[in-house]
């Protein structure tokens, strides 16, 4: 009996907390389906009735939603491939080869996590201005092409270290080159961890606002995050500032890919965070 009561209390506490955590997303969904009248009335309601798609129509017709979406996608895909290739090489190097100064370089790599982006952003901006790369995607992609994510290197490094040396040695005796061993033998057996790296990179670049807002000027180059803020500020000046419909519709559309990826692959996300923190 006591056990049962405790279980019910546990479920209750978790559910209430859970509802609070999920509320913003539920609000996006329900408000984006409401009419203006229902949104501005008090007390606020949670269930749209009647259901209307007018907010989505507004976003798709009046904004550059598809341009933003395309830009976000290009940046995300480039970052995912860039980071997969570069961090695989780097992590494998750290995991498998001995060299003088190796631990120094590794410590240096990890310490880059502590460098605030505010320190490097100003000189980088001025460098990119001189290279005429402002208002292109290059500043948003280049770092990950060059293995900037210490988190990803760390994850892969932990995994590659456990890969049996005997298999690699056997391949070496058969005359395989080092790159061949990595890409034909190790990588195919590391799909799960590489997938973890890929989905984290997707989420980071998709959510990033700081980088795009600094490096992109033209509306035609905006990502979804920048576009959402732009829509929000262009609406809030008007009399219908209380009508959150369009902003919520766009917010929902911009997190939808994250929701989809997360609901399919939550296990990989959780695995990634857990293995990164435990060794820290």
């Amino acid at each position: 009996m006591l056990k049962k009561i405790r279980f019910v209390a546990w479920i209750l506490v978790c559910s209430v907390l859970g509802i609070i955590f999920i509320m913003p997303f539920f609000w996006m969904l329900s408000t984006s389906l409401m009419s203006t009248e229902q949104i501005v009335q008090y007390p606020p309601e949670l269930i749209p009735s009647p259901v209307t798609l007018r907010s989505f129509e507004y976003v798709i017709k009046s904004g550059d939603f598809f341009t933003y979406f395309k830009n976000s996608s290009i940046i995300a895909v480039a970052n995912i491939f860039g980071t997969l290739i570069s961090t695989t090489l780097v992590a494998y190097g750290f995991a498998k080869y001995d060299a003088p100064l190796k631990s120094f370089w590794f410590a240096l790599l990890m310490s880059t996590m502590m460098v605030p982006y505010f320190v490097t952003i100003i000189p980088l901006y001025s460098i990119y201005v001189n290279l005429k790369l402002i208002n292109t995607f290059a500043p948003l992609i280049l770092p990950n092409m060059l293995s900037a994510s210490a988190f990803s290197v760390f994850l892969l490094h932990q995994f590659f270290k456990t890969f049996p040396k005997e298999i690699e040695d056997a391949a070496r005796i058969d005359g395989c080159s080092e790159l061949h061993i990595l890409f034909k033998i190790v990588v195919p057996n590391s799909r799960a961890i590489l997938f973890v790296v890929a989905i984290f990179m997707f989420v980071w670049t998709w959510n990033d606002y700081f980088g795009p807002v600094i490096f992109l000027n033209d509306q035609s180059k905006y990502t979804l995050a920048v576009g959402l803020v732009f829509l929000n500020s262009s609406i809030s000046g008007y009399k219908d500032a209380l009508d959150q419909g369009p902003v919520m519709a766009m917010a929902l559309l911009s997190v939808l890919p994250i929701i989809l990826v997360y609901s399919c692959f939550q296990k990989y996300f959780i695995k990634g965070i857990v293995s990164s923190g435990l060794k820290g």
């Binding site: 997303f25 502590m114 320190v119 092409m145 700081f210 803020v229 959150q244 923190g277």
Partner: protein, 293 residues
């Protein structure tokens, strides 16, 4: 076999060369360059003009906005980090027993951390409206008159901290992983000795996750000190600059006021503060940390 010691070093440097290149071009060089810029007057267009330590003396002696934004950043970090760590730890303890339901709730609680971004902050702003906002409506049903969260100078910072709580998911998962590594036999032994739940937590659980705790604490402080997008979207630094964070001041100094040298100096001060705090925490926890692994 060609796999000699010297060859290994060659391969090592070949494989890590993308990172080495990135490190020198995109981290080290900018760090050095920004240190140089911090000693100049530079508007981003004409050549930087060397002025020695003048930016720093201006910052420390005459700049009220520097003081205000630094105090705000500390204010935010001092409440946001402990509250978020405490909630993360409580949830981790709640979910520490393996079960289907607990796995489900892990997924739920971690989700906002994954989706954290402009969209969520925008919704939070609507939910926190003083009049007609959902949160104040719920409070009014409980007979509480909710404040103007984001426009009342004495509440805005608390509102930011409150919203930050729903992003404690990754810290929670890291705690949880640490807790799950503790052998259950420790608790059974403690139970036989008559230890209560609270005693168990302070005598067994906490000391054994001190490493994880230190990691979460240091990363939490580094992130909190650089907080930027959340206040930018939710309060814009207002009301009355009460939530104007240090990062926003760096950003404004450079990109809005065109004082890049000054901004670089501000950024270096931030870097040194972060390094200093991290070192102090790690040093003070070092004695208690265990390096069994």
């Amino acid at each position: 076999m060609h796999y000699t010691r010297r060859n290994q070093a060659k391969y090592f440097y070949l494989f890590i060369s993308p990172w080495l290149l990135g490190f020198f071009l995109l981290t080290l060089m900018p760090l050095v360059y920004s240190l140089f810029l911090s000693l100049t007057r530079y508007n981003g267009i004409s050549a930087p003009k060397f002025i020695g330590l003048q930016n720093y003396t201006d910052i420390f002696l005459y700049d009220d906005l520097f003081k205000q934004s630094l105090i705000n950043a500390f204010h935010y970090a001092i409440i946001a980090v402990p509250t978020s760590l405490t909630l993360a730890l409580i949830i981790a303890l709640l979910l520490s027993k393996e079960s289907k339901a607990s796995n489900f709730f892990q997924i739920v609680f971690y989700f906002p951390s994954v989706a954290a971004g402009v969209a969520v902050f925008t919704v939070a702003r609507f939910l926190l409206r003083g009049e007609g906002g959902l949160i104040n409506y719920v409070l009014s049903m409980l007979g509480i008159q909710g404040p103007y969260w984001l426009t009342d100078p004495s509440w805005a910072m608390n509102a930011l901290v409150m919203v930050n709580l729903i992003f404690c998911g990754s810290q929670m998962l890291i705690f949880l992983a640490g807790i799950k590594q503790i052998p259950t036999s420790y608790y059974e032994a403690a139970k036989i000795d008559g230890a209560g739940k609270i005693q168990c937590f302070f005598r067994i659980t906490f000391p054994l996750i001190i490493n994880v705790f230190a990691f979460n604490l240091v990363m939490g402080i580094i992130t909190a000190f650089q907080v930027f997008v959340q206040p930018l979207i939710m309060t814009g630094g207002g009301p009355l600059k009460k939530t104007y964070m240090y990062g926003m001041y760096i950003y404004d100094s450079g990109f809005n006021f065109g004082r890049f040298g000054y901004a670089a100096a501000l950024a270096w001060i931030m870097y040194i503060i972060i390094l200093f705090i991290s070192m102090v925490i790690l040093k003070s926890l070092q004695k208690r940390m265990n390096y069994e692994e």
